[in-house]
Symmetry: D2
Subunit: 378 residues, 4 copies
Amino acid sequence: MKKIRMGMIGGGIGAFIGDAHRRASRICNDFELVGGVFDVDYERSKEFAVQEGISLDRCYKSVDDLIKAELAMPADKRMEVVAVVTPNALHYPFAKSLLQNGFHVVCEKPMTMTVEEALELEELVKKTKLTFSLTHTYTGYPMVRQMRDLIAKGTLGTIQRIDAQYYQGWINSIIHGTDSRIKGVWRLEPEHAGVSSCMGDIGVHAFNLIEYTTGLEVKEVLSDLNSVKEGIKLDLDGTVLLRFSDKLKGVIRSSQVCGGEENGLTIAVYGSKASLKWGQENPNYLYMLSDSEPTRIFKPAHGYNDKFAEMSHTMPAGHPEGIYEALANIYRGTAKSIRGQAYIPGEFPTVHDGVRGMKFIHSVVQSNKMGNVWVKIS
Amino acid sequence: MKKIRMGMIGGGIGAFIGDAHRRASRICNDFELVGGVFDVDYERSKEFAVQEGISLDRCYKSVDDLIKAELAMPADKRMEVVAVVTPNALHYPFAKSLLQNGFHVVCEKPMTMTVEEALELEELVKKTKLTFSLTHTYTGYPMVRQMRDLIAKGTLGTIQRIDAQYYQGWINSIIHGTDSRIKGVWRLEPEHAGVSSCMGDIGVHAFNLIEYTTGLEVKEVLSDLNSVKEGIKLDLDGTVLLRFSDKLKGVIRSSQVCGGEENGLTIAVYGSKASLKWGQENPNYLYMLSDSEPTRIFKPAHGYNDKFAEMSHTMPAGHPEGIYEALANIYRGTAKSIRGQAYIPGEFPTVHDGVRGMKFIHSVVQSNKMGNVWVKIS
Amino acid sequence: MKKIRMGMIGGGIGAFIGDAHRRASRICNDFELVGGVFDVDYERSKEFAVQEGISLDRCYKSVDDLIKAELAMPADKRMEVVAVVTPNALHYPFAKSLLQNGFHVVCEKPMTMTVEEALELEELVKKTKLTFSLTHTYTGYPMVRQMRDLIAKGTLGTIQRIDAQYYQGWINSIIHGTDSRIKGVWRLEPEHAGVSSCMGDIGVHAFNLIEYTTGLEVKEVLSDLNSVKEGIKLDLDGTVLLRFSDKLKGVIRSSQVCGGEENGLTIAVYGSKASLKWGQENPNYLYMLSDSEPTRIFKPAHGYNDKFAEMSHTMPAGHPEGIYEALANIYRGTAKSIRGQAYIPGEFPTVHDGVRGMKFIHSVVQSNKMGNVWVKIS
Amino acid sequence: MKKIRMGMIGGGIGAFIGDAHRRASRICNDFELVGGVFDVDYERSKEFAVQEGISLDRCYKSVDDLIKAELAMPADKRMEVVAVVTPNALHYPFAKSLLQNGFHVVCEKPMTMTVEEALELEELVKKTKLTFSLTHTYTGYPMVRQMRDLIAKGTLGTIQRIDAQYYQGWINSIIHGTDSRIKGVWRLEPEHAGVSSCMGDIGVHAFNLIEYTTGLEVKEVLSDLNSVKEGIKLDLDGTVLLRFSDKLKGVIRSSQVCGGEENGLTIAVYGSKASLKWGQENPNYLYMLSDSEPTRIFKPAHGYNDKFAEMSHTMPAGHPEGIYEALANIYRGTAKSIRGQAYIPGEFPTVHDGVRGMKFIHSVVQSNKMGNVWVKIS
């Protein structure tokens, strides 16, 4: 099958997330990276292009240049999709321009800086009918998809409690000065990161995972955020109370100062009949709990899983696939959409997930500012 | 060494918690059960006494009878300590009478129904100088004590986040009618259980564990409780935001409707230098996390532990001791206190822990009633 | 119910295994320790008796003295059962004398030094009809008993492979001189420990667990033992190939020099329909594996378990019981037998398990001596 | 950097191992698949080529055709390396032809059918100085490489015991007729699979892992193999005693009938100072045990690891990479060798590992045939 011609904005030398996107696109084997704007520094951008074997003709100085030059090409050579993997503040303007000029977009999260921008992109996607894929990578794991299917089938009965966590510790060493890493520090600056560090960077993944697996919408949030140390302008830590309905409540706990935690994203959904628990660091294990039956461990590559989980894993049982494969699953879904092939809803997160995420982040920040009060996620 | 003569209120036929207290008292081998009021039904009480080989002379109809008769005995025969293992509402009146009449008391939690009662007991204990031991059993585990020691030594640096959980699922089957157990149902009735089910029964253990291991006091709480189902009068589920100081926040999550969860009490304390995680279901594993070192697993019966942990475990490494031994450790500490022997603070929870617990429960309930606002734990 | 009067040989000050037996006997609450020969040093023996609150009249200088004096007592005061918890070489002579004089016996393993002695004890037990209980403690765990029941019911289909392990590391530090412990060193001396250290002390537990859980008999063994270091006279490490039948083979791996291993006894039984795995260090988890179903985790205190497992655990689900409770379960079964009450086969290991164990140890040692050849366990 | 032109023999439609090789080659991004003989059925081979976007000109009918046609091309177009991913029996003849004609080779294991063939290939590689990479995939995991480095540095002291396991269950369902899969059944036929099923297919991985991580050579083996069921011609199960020296012994346990086991490759190396344990199903966890220190868990993406482990993982800590990334690491090492770049010994398994593997398989089979006697691996 012919590969989809892809460009990339950001993700040049030393950027781990750009590398992840490229690997994922190669794993699923539906894409060919043909050009991009890999770095704000044009020389470094070209250096990167050479290193990757990309024609310097298509290594552009700016997104505007890229759009202009690509549009000048014949349709069968032109970039079809562009992956935006820049710091947060640039997602929105670049995604918008690209959509307006007819390019499909793969976009890192958080999708925008404001809710208004998010709604604008949603409108634009609706209008243009282009594919917009937001890389909430964790939705690409087979057992997350199995969890979604099990819940959709009603296996849990009435859902009674939802508890998600995203704990990391890496900022800890930065704010306490024992680490000289500075690459990540744009995350601590409002102008680059937006209104939130912890919730915007990772809490929103927990939020997305809840809505993705349960199909429910969070209605209201009440948050208590913590900047942890004098001089830090954004939240590095916080807890968010969630309400789904009168009788269904939940909680998101998220922190970047849990020293020693690596990438501790977990979710537990408790129902009247059974419960499900999953954790990102051992992504191939999904636990089903029940009061009357032994706990069951679902794993990929088994006939007892639903089709969606099974098509998201390629190796035989016990051969662990990981996060690159999860992202590749999202790229694969995105490719299907771009090609106009049938795909399962949930194969890739959409612009609507991005809108929900921005509403979550802003409601959480607002709740905290107003003194830890309930704020509706309209 | 001569055994301490012990009585028991409650804990007769079929009562698992009374059985647990007796086993613990036999394991530590410092006590001899000589009498009590084992059941409100005197015939059943006697039946129990016969079964246990306890003289019917000392199987009493009421606590008043017990006190009167025991006081009439010579001091070297008289009961020295009485364990109160009745439903919640009776802890306070019995404990009070017993203390007023010169008996040491071992008391199940929650210690009282109100904060005022708790303060009254605290006053009484101060005045009488009697031993009062509150069985927050989980503080008897060796690795909980090791955690306390590691934190006291400053191993974690500045504490930055605290997260405790206590999830059970057993009420789930009761409220959904798939279980005919009714023994526990007094826990759902305010007149027997007090102002709270979930927080009063189990959330308070999580609270106690936080204060026990960190030596910190929770200053304020904001809670969101959930009765889960129409017709339930008390909370079965809830989340409590915690504030220790301006820059230290935390959370307690507690629920009795997490189907399939058994006795899921966990605690994580995150510091600027290192972090500690412990869970009750695998109580012999204490995890120390750090950004710069491999995660370490502390286990009992090793030279690297502090003395307090080591004296709380008797078997060689790898021979798992469990919850009865944890409770026996508390009984052992209580015995030392009764005998006037030296003991380590923390060998048994005191009346002050009971006061703190009652303040926690009432503040949490108040916060929820007032619309999820911050309430000080004065 | 009236307690059974128990004596003890060995197990005095500092002896952890004697302490374990006493705790277990107190936990099940069927026994009363009334006397014994607690130490070869009579003064230390008396010191221990005082410490335990045992009458010095019944603290004897020798087993012969004990037998003579107890037989002189009226039947309703006389010791009924004696626990033999001495070093290995003394199990046989003491157990024999005790049986010959009408005492029930609880005996530590290995039961004897030779197969002949074991057969002699078996004969004696048959003749006297006394209760003889061999403390293969691990058979007292609820989930081991559940495993036995599941296999007996045919849940696994045809058994195809059996793999048991018993790894410890504690001798490591002794033989490399970084540890000054010497208490255990009699285990390295043939005159005290018998023909084997590793296989006699721990390998035999793995063997027993296999026969206990599967109901199968090992027919032949081929072993390769390792004394690890110059100057060590006994095996500290070894592997034993097992044959149960033409098409069913297995292996026991056992070592005392696996540094860092604590008490790593595990068993896995693989069948044509399903498989079961259990490990002693997390004894409340039994894993059932299958090719077509999610792995299931059986835990105590659930309706899905068989009666034998359920009567072997007293706390609600999620409250971990440990090794003392396992040993107490064996004491409880022993008490039933002494009292002539009905009990389930498997509630305590018998003299026949002791015979099997001795045959195993001697066959393994013989196989190794003869150059790693097959030796029948007749 | 210019990509290395790669061909492939086997691995067409439906072949999971060929797919794995291609994914790995794309992940490391050093290779470009330009042609091959993907299937014995030429039509299916072409179908596959179309599907993969490979020019039909380079989709060959046979390996001979491939060699002839490619050699006719100019050097800067010609295939440089060929991956041989056929059934076992074809590895040797194809690898030999390819080497003789100047192609670098990536070869699936087992490398050949006989030891003689293996030695012949080793000779050929020495003579031609071509790169020969044997895909013992598990050596590509970062924590396996960390284990190798820790052992090489002497962290464990004197090694005292080695225990490796490779348990699978998938053949179970085939031989008991509950599964209609037949793709794998060539593994049960001597003419396709060679002298062994279980040991040749998976036991040899455990053997390789031992020699890879410890740097030691197995000197002698004694095996007991099991065909499990009437009519099966090869071993499906077995245990192999290992001798490394007079005082160092070990064991490999391997089975294809352990129902419910997925891909249970584990290794434990016990030393006088510390021990290391690793398991394939959670490949990012390496456990270091010690008698005097808490167990440590090494994970990728940390400064405490050696360089070799760190260069084998690209994501930040806690983002699990899996088996495709392990294989990609081997492809990366292979690429360095082909390009004449510096690489670390161990970056890819060599023809010598293949020779060792064949010697292991044949010695094990011989030991079993001769009645379970010691056989030297010369």
